[in-house]
Amino acid sequence: MTRSGGPASAPASGPILAARNVLFRHQGATVPLFDGLNLDVQPGEFMVIIGPNGSGKTTLLKLLSGVHAPQGGEVILKTRPIRAIPPRERARSVAVVFQEARILFDFTVLEVALMGRAPHLGAWRLERTSDFESARAALREMDLTAQENAHLEELSSGERQRALIARALAQEPRVLLMDEPTAFLDLKHRLQIHEILVRLNRDRGLTVVTTSHDLNLAGRYGSRLVLLDRGRLAADGPPADVLTPALIMQVYETEARIVRDSESGVPYVVPIAPAR
């Protein structure tokens, strides 16, 4: 399944997530990373944020998720500033899978998926039958039903990543944010995780935002690419408009050729040499 071109569904009701004039400075940094950043995420899109190391991909994802607070401007979820929404309510709309997702202690796969139900439960309540049902449904969707009693440590990296996606799905969110979803995975699992994300995006209408270092995966699966250059939006649009030799030279300081797959028309980046 490959896609390119504009948003999958026309934005009928405005952006689902929007960064408005966001100012963000890391603690101890002299220059802000983002200064007046604006970005709209439309419902139903599959947005991939790309950019070199230190360009702010992960920080942007954390700002969009409401986990980090900007020092100026705001992030809007549908109509409300995301930081003004009570955390549990926010967690029912926005799910995040972070990169460093090591879980202390030996929780089972099912227990990890059940963690996604926390924002739906009353304070201090145990999970009900319906929560077990939605956690198991998420595991089924991630093809982890047979492993539900396995400990997370016993899983392969691909399975572990799927377990964390299952936790996010159990949240029943409108938006799924994922930081480098396949950074540590081999080729097969990279494709597998991305096929899953595309399926969730297409079949469930789940809005997906990921960050990626892999320009070719981004170009193949993203419906919209956002190219960050030291906290600035260098380009924003369909893959064919963002993956160009000029932009790659400008942002990645790398000479590259773009070829198109004859069957799908997807643009592929062939890096040639670092700029001197």
Binding site: G66, R90, E100, I103, F105, V112, L126, E153
Partner: protein
């Protein structure tokens, strides 16, 4: 381990409480004088002596050991989750040491005499514990987030400083008022009156229940601070509430029994093996297992060389030290320190 349900929670805690009752009964029948619980019901010549021995000497001591073990077990489980460090324990981190310094200073400087009705000693212990936690958080955090690795090192330093301060006070202040300091410093279960035991029970019960109610948030915090945030946990509030409650119950028992080591390290690991990592069950389970463990350790300490007693802290340290090293070796390769 099946996931937690109301039924599993109730059955597990019920079974644990039965085991606790059983160990109280067994240990009440063990001691340097050979009276057993049966002597209470059997109409023997010695009935009066047996009653006095068991009800006035052994039972209060067993109950005190149970309370101390419960507090240290539960707070160990909580510190391990909040600090994201499976080697954390109120003793190793210096929290018990801080409480000990507070309690000792209050006694040595005669503060308790100023207002005998108020729990001055306990309050001083609590302040010492909380100050230690604050220092741990301040010194071991990178960009405002606690990092587990230097925490143990800071704990070692704090413990050394606290011990030095206690010895300094001991040297300066007249010794007669401070009889038994050395024994108390390694942890000894005293025989207290039932009034104090009842008051401590209430504090500990509320503390453990309060901590168990934060169990789900502690589970989510085991998945990482940012993951917990994204799942709706107000991390700062949870951290403050749980650390204050854990320090409170630790200080309450340290001010009576001294800083007993390693209970908070061993017990949560045993509880996790038996009942899984879900903190809604793990916290109360660690409390009850801690109680059973310390009752057993104290029974060993008062009977193994009877009539000479060894401090219970000696027994727990002799179990806990090797356990720590074993755990460190096992877990160092297992990813806990990445």
């Amino acid at each position: 381990m099946p996931p937690l349900t109301g039924r599993r929670l109730a059955v597990s805690i019920g079974a644990l409480l039965l085991a606790l009752l059983l160990s109280v009964a067994i240990c009440a029948s063990i001691g340097s004088s050979r009276y057993t619980l049966l002597d209470l019901v059997r109409l023997s010549v010695d009935e009066e002596t047996a009653r006095a021995m068991i009800l006035r000497v052994r039972l209060p001591r067993i109950l005190m050991a149970a309370l101390a073990g419960a507090a240290l077990g539960a707070s160990g489980a909580v510190f391990q989750a909040v600090l994201r460090n499976p080697l954390a324990d109120p003793y190793i981190l210096g929290v018990s040491g801080g409480a000990a310094l507070g309690a000792f200073a209050a006694t040595a400087l005669g503060l308790s005499a100023i207002a005998p009705i108020l729990p001055v000693r306990e309050t001083a212990a609590f302040l010492g514990a909380i100050a230690t936690v604050a220092i741990l958080f301040l010194l071991s955090s990178a960009r405002g987030r606690p990092v587990s690795h230097p925490m143990l090192l800071i704990g070692v330093i704090m413990n050394t400083v606290y011990l030095a301060l206690i010895l300094l006070i001991e040297t300066v202040v007249e010794f007669s008022r401070l009889h038994g300091v050395r024994l108390w410093m390694i942890g000894t279960i005293p025989i207290e009156d039932y009034g104090l035991i009842a008051a401590l029970s209430v504090v500990l019960f509320l503390g453990v229940v309060g901590l168990a109610l934060h169990g789900r948030d502690l589970n989510l915090m085991s998945a990482g601070e940012e993951a917990a945030r994204s799942l709706g946990v107000t991390v700062e509030r949870t951290r403050v509430v749980t650390v204050v409650l854990a320090s409170l119950i630790t200080a309450a028992v340290v001010s009576v029994a001294g800083p007993i080591g390693f209970v908070g390290l061993i017990v949560p690991h045993a509880a996790r093996l038996l009942f899984g990592p879900d903190h809604r069950l793990l916290v109360p389970a660690s409390a009850v297992i801690g109680a059973i463990f310390l009752i057993a350790a104290d029974t060993v300490s008062r009977s193994v060389m009877a009539p000479t007693e060894i401090p219970v802290g000696v027994v727990t340290a002799l179990c806990g030290g090797p356990f720590f090293l074993w755990l460190y070796r096992r877990r160092a390769g297992g990813g806990y320190f990445q």
